[in-house]
């Protein structure tokens, strides 16, 4: 039974995704929509971390239900440097790079949820299946957000 491993792996990835979203938010404080939306959707991956920790107990895992947070000073440092760079064009390229990274990360996690759902069905674990059916759509929304934002932001960055 490797389901425990899959849960542990997903718990780690969702944790990383939370960090990615929050760091990205801070780095793009002057791109206001990115700043706020990434924070809003980080809530989803945070909830996934907590939920995975909860079901993990059934598989003998002791996972932290709290997503790990960057220390406050790192966040404020990132926000400050974003503000200092606010009038310059370089953050445009950085935003594209960050969105690309986010997309890849969310795509990986989406596959992991797929795997977990398949495993849950095979193991007839209804709770685990319900969890992945609840969480996976949100991961897909993060994925689509990264894709849509990339489509919207790239023409101006690349053609100016």
């Amino acid at each position: 039974m490797k389901l425990g491993m899959a849960i542990e792996e997903l718990h780690r990835s969702e944790n990383d995704l939370t960090s990615t979203l929050l760091a990205m938010s801070d780095r793009h404080k002057t791109d206001h929509e990115v700043f706020y939306v990434t924070r809003d959707i980080a809530k989803w991956s945070r909830e996934h971390v907590a939920e995975l920790a909860r079901v993990g107990r059934d598989y003998g895992l002791d996972l932290d239900p709290e997503a790990k947070d960057d220390p406050g000073f790192v966040a404020s440092l990132r926000q400050k440097s974003s503000e200092l760079m606010g009038r310059r064009p370089e953050p445009g390229l950085l935003l594209l790079a960050d969105l690309r990274h986010l997309h890849r990360q969310a795509a990986g996690i989406s596959l992991d949820w797929e795997l977990l759902a398949q495993g849950a069905q095979a193991a007839k674990d209804r709770e685990l299946l319900a969890l992945s059916e609840r969480c996976h759509p949100q991961t897909l929304r993060i994925l689509r957000f990264a894709n849509a934002k990339l489509k919207e932001a790239s023409p101006q960055v690349l053609a100016s």
């Binding site: 929509e33 939306v37 959707i41 689509r144 957000f145 023409p155 101006q156 053609a159």
Partner: protein
């Protein structure tokens, strides 16, 4: 009969009952004691200082505008006018009008001639097109020009220059209305009609202070309330507005919690079985998802979050749930708040699940703020393509390219057109280097003004401002173009309920001022814009020609104008689109029989994710809604981004007053209106004032992390914990000129936050955390807030708002009206 219309903004009652015709009442105002016998001629038009679209005639004497009179035959107002219509026209005659182009030389704006000004604009455009391409060029238009002008601008920008950066200040007032309609019905287009007020038994107003934003429409409601079998009124507003005072139920939620409240209302409606199951199964998709979502939002949960008693939520839901003819209206209390589109969509959901659409009394009015905002939306003057074409549908682009005779590749459609706040961001980063602002005033009306002033003042940004006065924004421009306004040019415009009016030219513009349409056409010709056959891109040279061009563009689309003409619009009443061969007299209600414009191949939009704002793909939409039904879109509640703290304990909301429009450039130049609300004020609740021992008239300092403003206190019926500032007051009539200068700020937007709804991209003006402190006691002074409106005092005895003899306007009751 004469009536002080400053003291009595809604005039006399003409009561009527359900299903009856609203009696007429002809309002008029002529300057300088003139009588109708003195008037040389009357010229047909409609009102422009709000979105209601009331038909009026302009009085001309000695080639000058001298007054106005409501058109009795008009379907919208049945002769009535509001205070802004009666008195606002005087701004046309102001000595402050711009009469010559201005150009910046050695840091100063100096007068110049049209050739010099236009060559400067055209040369800079050409330089930037050579150097960077169309991504350097942007247009920021308005909700106050005419249809013909927006359509021509959209053609020039999208079809000629090929830039994606075109938006209107409708982004601030009506973007969420359009977005909410696109989410629920996959297409813009107002489901309701004003005549629904004549039939409704329940009218629910969500964040819509109709009494102040559309005074004549509110007069219609007041007349129903004064008549037999009046409708029940539900009001959702954190302030004790005139609407709230008439309401059967007034819900005053915490700002930023609208989605929570709406979900609780939907929860009750569904849990109690007040759903029209037949309608839903035949005409909508997404009910299961909505039911599942709102199951988590019982009134008790909402009561906590919104701070509204659960019993009140239940009672409101019961009234809505038992309505036989439900009219819902929505405005800025939802549109400029956190989760704007999600909340406005839930209002659509209420009407959809109750099967209350497309029949008399059953409608939704997703309102606009400005007179011609609807045209900005339908003609491609904002972040949309003309005639509700879908930027994500290649066939629509090809079709538009055919109408314009350009290569489809020329029309940007790689993403939705750039919205205003993003344009400002590109200008901040330096990739937009040319911005042409028309008839709007971002230096006062956009959030976080210190930032906006910085952006607009940059040397690297070439700023063109086209206006009728030297506004705060115009003072920052490189070139200022003097425009003609309403009454000085001909064109059409369309109101909230799709009524199209013709506005004929009454007098010549002052000095060298020119109609906006002429300026655009001149620009296109000087720039040498051509279609793909080498012919001039803009094929018309006057307003009627532009209208004919637009008709072709609108053919077969939801906003079909092909059955209209200037001749048909002249005389008589306004006409509602769609107006075509099948509907030669226009269409009062769309979506009758549950038929929508939502088919994947026809619709304007595939919708967006309600939280991230990401557009859905064609495939996703086809899966969701293959047969073009209404879409019930559920939304989860998210907490607002800036919440009160120990340092900033109040929630600051901004808004308007009945007597002013936008940034007062016109209304402050109409003496009666200016005197009614001459200076900024702040509203707090009685409890919050008592806790701090504040009294009426105390001078307060209001601060947020963005800035500070000083204003005198009005203790009003606003809910505790909330502070209200009117947004009209800028600096053009202060020593600061374009900004606070050395003086303290008075523009509410010094304080607001840069944040917007991810779906509609409408900036949030109703969610900021603020602190207040007293800097000077009243010492007998009062605040300048009107006493007749939402700012009515609940403590102290400030002077009553009166206009006196100067504000006496005629009122002719033709159908046995009584007071």
């Amino acid at each position: 009969m004469k009536l002080d219309r400053i003291a009595e903004p809604w005039g006399s009652r003409t009561p009527y009952g359900p299903g009856e015709t609203w009696p007429t009442r002809v309002d008029s105002y002529l300057a300088d004691g003139l009588t109708e016998a003195d008037v040389d001629r009357w010229v047909q038009s409609a009102t422009i200082l709000h979105s209601n679209g009331d038909g009026l005639d302009i009085a001309v004497k000695d080639e000058k505008i001298v007054g106005v009179r409501g058109r009795e035959v008009d379907r919208v107002n049945h002769g009535r006018l509001g205070p802004k219509d009666l008195f606002g026209w005087q701004a046309n005659n102001s000595p402050d009008r711009l009469t010559r182009p201005l150009i910046r030389r050695k840091g100063k704006l100096v007068e110049t001639d049209w050739d010099t000004a236009m060559d400067a604009v055209v040369n800079r455009t050409k330089e930037l097109l050579d150097e960077q391409g169309p991504s350097a060029i942007s247009f920021y238009t308005t909700g106050q020009l005419f249809l013909e002008e927006y359509y021509t601008l959209g053609l020039i920008a999208h079809g000629g220059i090929g830039t994606n950066h075109v938006d209107g200040n409708t982004r601030l007032c009506t973007a969420t209305a359009a977005a909410a309609l696109k989410e629920s019905f996959a297409c813009d287009g107002q489901p309701g009609s004003y005549t629904d007020i004549d039939h409704a038994d329940v009218i629910a107003l969500y964040g819509h202070n109709m009494a102040e934003t559309q005074t004549v429409l509110w007069t219609r409601v007041l007349d129903r309330l004064a008549g037999p079998n009046p409708p029940k009124v539900i009001c959702v507003d954190p302030r004790m507005t005139p609407v709230a005072r008439e309401a059967t139920i007034h819900l005053a939620p915490r700002p930023g919690t609208n989605v929570m409240l709406m979900n609780a209302l939907l929860h009750e409606i569904i849990a109690n079985g007040w759903v029209d199951d037949d309608y839903v199964s035949a005409h909508a998709v997404g009910f299961a998802e909505l039911e599942k979502r709102v199951a988590d939002y019982p009134p008790e949960v909402a009561a906590e979050v919104c701070d509204v008693p659960a019993e009140q939520i239940r009672e409101a839901a019961r009234i809505i749930g038992h309505a036989e003819r439900l009219l819902s209206t929505v405005l800025q209390g939802f549109y400029q708040s956190h989760q704007a589109s999600a909340a406005a969509v839930q209002v659509n959901n209420v009407n959809i699940i109750r099967g209350m659409l497309g029949r008399p009394g059953c409608g939704v009015l997703q309102m606009n703020g400005q007179p011609t905002a609807e045209n900005t939306r339908e003609c491609g003057g904002d972040g949309d393509l003309p005639a509700f074409r879908n930027w994500d549908n290649d066939e629509h682009i090809e079709d538009l390219a055919k109408v314009w005779n350009v290569d489809p590749m020329q029309i940007p459609h790689y993403s939705s057109p750039t919205h205003l706040m993003q344009m400002m961001r590109y200008a901040e980063q330096g990739s937009i280097r040319f911005m042409w602002v028309q008839a709007t005033n971002p230096a006062v009306s956009l959030p976080e003004l210190a930032r906006i002033r910085e952006i607009l003042s940059q040397d690297r940004l070439f700023l063109v401002v086209q206006d009728i006065f030297l506004s705060e924004t115009a003072q920052l421009a490189d070139v200022v173009l003097p425009a003609a306004t309403w009454g000085e040019k001909t064109g059409t415009f369309t109101n909230v309920d799709r009524t199209v009016h013709l506005s004929d030219k009454a007098v010549e513009p002052p000095g060298e001022a020119r109609p906006d349409l002429d300026i655009f056409i001149d620009y296109a010709r000087r720039l040498g814009l051509e279609d793909k056959d080498g012919q001039p891109l803009v094929k018309w040279s006057d307003a009627e020609g532009a209208f004919e061009g637009w008709k072709e563009c609108s053919r077969g689309r939801p906003c079909d104008y092909t059955g209209m003409s200037y001749a048909k619009l002249r005389g008589g009443s306004g006409i509602q689109w769609p107006c075509n061969e099948e509907n030669p007299d226009g269409t009062e209600r769309i979506y009758a029989d549950g038929k929508f414009w939502a088919d994947p191949s026809y619709c304007e939009s595939f919708g967006r994710d309600m939280v991230t704002g990401a557009p859905l793909s064609e495939t996703e939409y086809k899966t969701l809604n293959p047969s073009g039904k209404a879409v019930l879109k559920a939304a989860e509640y998210l907490a607002p981004h800036e919440i009160p703290s120990q340092d900033f304990p109040f929630q600051l909301i901004t808004g308007r007053t009945l007597y002013h429009f936008h940034t007062r450039t016109k209304t402050a130049r109409a003496p009666q209106l200016q005197a009614a609300a001459p200076e900024v004020w702040i509203e707090l609740s009685a409890g919050d004032a008592a806790d701090r021992k504040f009294t009426e008239g105390d001078l307060l300092e209001i601060t947020t992390p963005r800035g500070r403003v000083e204003a005198r206190l009005r203790i009003s019926g606003i809910r505790p914990g909330v502070a209200f500032l009117p947004f009209h007051y800028g600096y053009w009539d202060t020593p600061g000129g374009h900004g606070p200068g050395k003086k303290e700020g008075r523009a509410a937007n010094e304080l607001t936050i840069t944040d917007w709804d991810p779906v509609s991209k409408q900036p949030l003006f109703k969610t900021a955390a603020a602190a207040v402190r007293r800097i000077e006691k009243a010492k007998g002074r009062s605040s300048a807030a009107p006493t007749t409106t939402g700012s009515a005092p609940v403590a102290g005895t400030p002077p009553q708002t009166r206009g006196g003899a100067a504000a006496e306007a005629g009122e002719a009751l033709t159908a046995g009206g009584r007071r």
